[in-house]
């Protein structure tokens, strides 16, 4: 029996001023299947009118949020950035990938555990000073280069769990070991590999983290289940921490690792990108006065040049002029980065 819903009675009920008779009516509306649609409309009406300004203290729901966060962290969803292809397969993939997901969760957990247990176990730290590139070799035979101003850390039990933490940029040539995956942890994502050659750039002062794959296969995992991406050779994955989004581009991978050979290679790249990399290379800071010049695209290869010479060569072909500022001493007595101002050539 379908009964019309009386708004006035429903209202009395939610306000707590209702009789047994009202309660019996409300219960009937709830129980009766045929009233459900009408009840939903009535309650939706109430939801829209429901004030969001509450007098009195808000209810403390922190524990509810914390429990939710825990539940969410356990789930490790696959968000592919090539959404269109994946859309139809999301459900199937979720089932098929479950063992893989569980495995990734485990590996991320072990990475975290490593980070947190740094205090109690000994740690090896490789530091590449500003303006230098450092070659490193790991206990498992993997090797690579650490770029200017970067740090690589790993625990002394590296042989059991091949995990390193990277701040800055490094090129890796990972020794193949089917049984033991190799993980590079950075503040926003980790790269999971078996054996391969790739470049990771995760500078704390930059809002993007980049992974470029030259050979083999890697999996890039965002933390808290944000994303999981499988990369193919000659692909560049860029994660932007501000927008929490990632993109994949096809690139010439060699170009991104040429720094390790003392080469600075630019292939049709915007001047903003060129100057960013030169700045990192020579430990200088560029001030660009006119945003228009950032868009100018540039192509060049530099090898073992002085910074003055590099800038001179750029200014010969790009519409820019430049001026070096005298290095200033900071309050702590340490000289600050050299500042070079770039202007548009008139």
């Amino acid at each position: 029996m379908k009964e019309p819903i009386d708004y006035k009675i429903l209202r009395k009920f939610v306000l707590g001023k209702y009789s047994l008779k009202d309660f019996k009516l409300v219960s009937r509306w709830f129980e009766d299947k045929s009233s459900e649609a009408d009840l939903k409309i009535a309650i939706q009406q109430h939801w829209h009118e429901f004030s969001e300004d509450f007098s009195g203290n808000p209810k403390d729901l922190t524990s509810v949020l914390n429990q939710l966060k825990q539940k969410i962290a356990k789930e490790r969803p696959v968000v592919n950035f090539r959404k269109k292809i994946q859309k139809f397969y999301t459900r199937a993939a979720a089932i098929l990938l479950l063992p893989l997901i569980l495995y990734s969760v485990y590996s991320v957990y072990s990475t975290f555990q490593k980070v947190t247990s740094y205090e109690i176990s000994s740690l090896v730290e490789i530091v590449s000073p500003h303006g230098a590139r450092t070659h490193f070799q790991l206990p498992d035979g993997s090797q690579g280069w650490l770029n200017s101003g970067s740090i690589l850390k790993y625990k002394t039990d590296f042989q059991q769990k091949r995990t390193v933490q990277l701040i800055g940029e490094a090129w890796f040539e990972v020794a193949h070991d089917e049984k033991s995956q190799f993980i590079v942890g950075t503040p926003h994502l980790d790269v999971q590999v078996l054996g391969t050659k790739f470049n990771v750039a995760a500078f704390p002062e930059e809002k993007v983290t980049e992974v470029v794959l030259q050979e083999g296969k890697v999996k890039v995992n965002g933390y808290n289940g944000l994303f999981t991406v499988d990369m193919k050779p000659d692909e560049k994955f860029t994660y932007n921490r501000d927008t929490q989004s990632g993109t994949i581009q096809t690139v010439n991978a060699g170009q991104f690792s040429s720094w390790k050979d003392g080469l600075l290679v630019f292939r049709n790249e915007p001047l903003s990108e060129v100057l960013k990399r030169i700045g990192r290379w020579y430990n200088v800071e560029f001030v660009i006065t006119d945003p228009e010049i950032s868009k100018f695209r540039y192509r060049a290869t530099f090898q073992e040049e002085q910074i003055e010479e590099v800038i001179r060569l750029i200014s010969l072909t790009a519409p820019i002029s430049y001026s070096f500022k005298k290095r200033e001493m900071g309050e702590d007595g340490v000289f600050k980065k050299r500042i070079i101002t770039i202007k548009r050539k008139i």
Binding site: K12, F13, V14, L15, G16, K17, Y18, S19, L20, K21, D22, F23, K24, S27, F30, E31, E36, L39, K40, I43, Q44, H46, W47, F50, E52, D53, F54, P58, K59, L61, V64, L65, Q67, L68, K69, K71, I72, E75, P77, V79, T90, N224, G225, L226, F227, T243, Q244, S245
Partner: protein, 196 residues
């Protein structure tokens, strides 16, 4: 409510769709209080209202990829909340039916019970009266009304005669009838305030 949002809701929703926990937490901040109080108004239980909040947001996360825009988010949020409240309400109503039934039968003697605008206070009064009954009578009465056991089963369980069971229940009902008499109901609001 603080609402210093640097992201618009639309941005948050598209971030959530891509699995952003940051966006999830912002949306929780924006909607959890409303959802909590709304659920509380139907379920009258803080624990259950918290359960609704948790469940709705968990489902929101699990189905985040289906979210399209602001309107669909809002209506999706409401739909999950409605279904949850609906389910909880019915379960609760079933669990508490015996109280409604007792009060219903008492209203045969005193029709004011049915129309008294403070049903919640009547329920509290009923519970405290049951609590005041002698131990054995209370036990028999609960088994019969709350657990809906037959007189025969109760008699067997407690090793007493069915007649004794019936007598105890009649006694209990007479006690309640007296306590729910016309003159007592009028002072109910006062009674309720004291209980709080």
């Amino acid at each position: 409510m603080k609402n210093q949002q640097t992201h618009t809701e639309q941005q948050l929703i598209s971030l959530l769709r891509n699995g952003s926990q940051f966006a999830f937490e912002r949306l929780f901040e924006n909607y959890s209080q409303k959802l909590y109080r709304f659920s509380l108004s139907y379920l009258k239980s803080e624990t259950e209202a918290e359960e609704i909040v948790q469940d709705v947001f968990l489902k929101l996360w699990e189905n985040r990829e289906k979210l399209r825009n602001e309107t669909s988010f809002q209506s999706y949020l409401f739909t999950i909340a409605f279904n949850d409240i609906h389910k909880h309400f019915n379960k609760k109503a079933r669990d508490e039916r015996y109280r409604t039934e007792i009060l219903d039968s008492l209203s045969g003697e005193n029709p004011a019970i049915e129309t008294n605008p403070d049903f919640e206070a009547l329920v509290i009064k009923l519970e405290s009266l049951i609590e005041q009954m002698p131990e054995r009578r209370k036990e028999i009465f609960r088994k019969r009304k709350k657990e809906a056991k037959s007189v025969k089963d109760i008699a067997r369980e407690m090793s007493i005669s069915p007649k004794t069971v019936e007598n105890q229940i009649t006694e209990a009902m007479n006690f309640l009838k007296k306590e729910f008499g016309n003159d007592r109901i009028s002072g109910l609001l006062f009674f309720y305030v004291f209980l709080e």
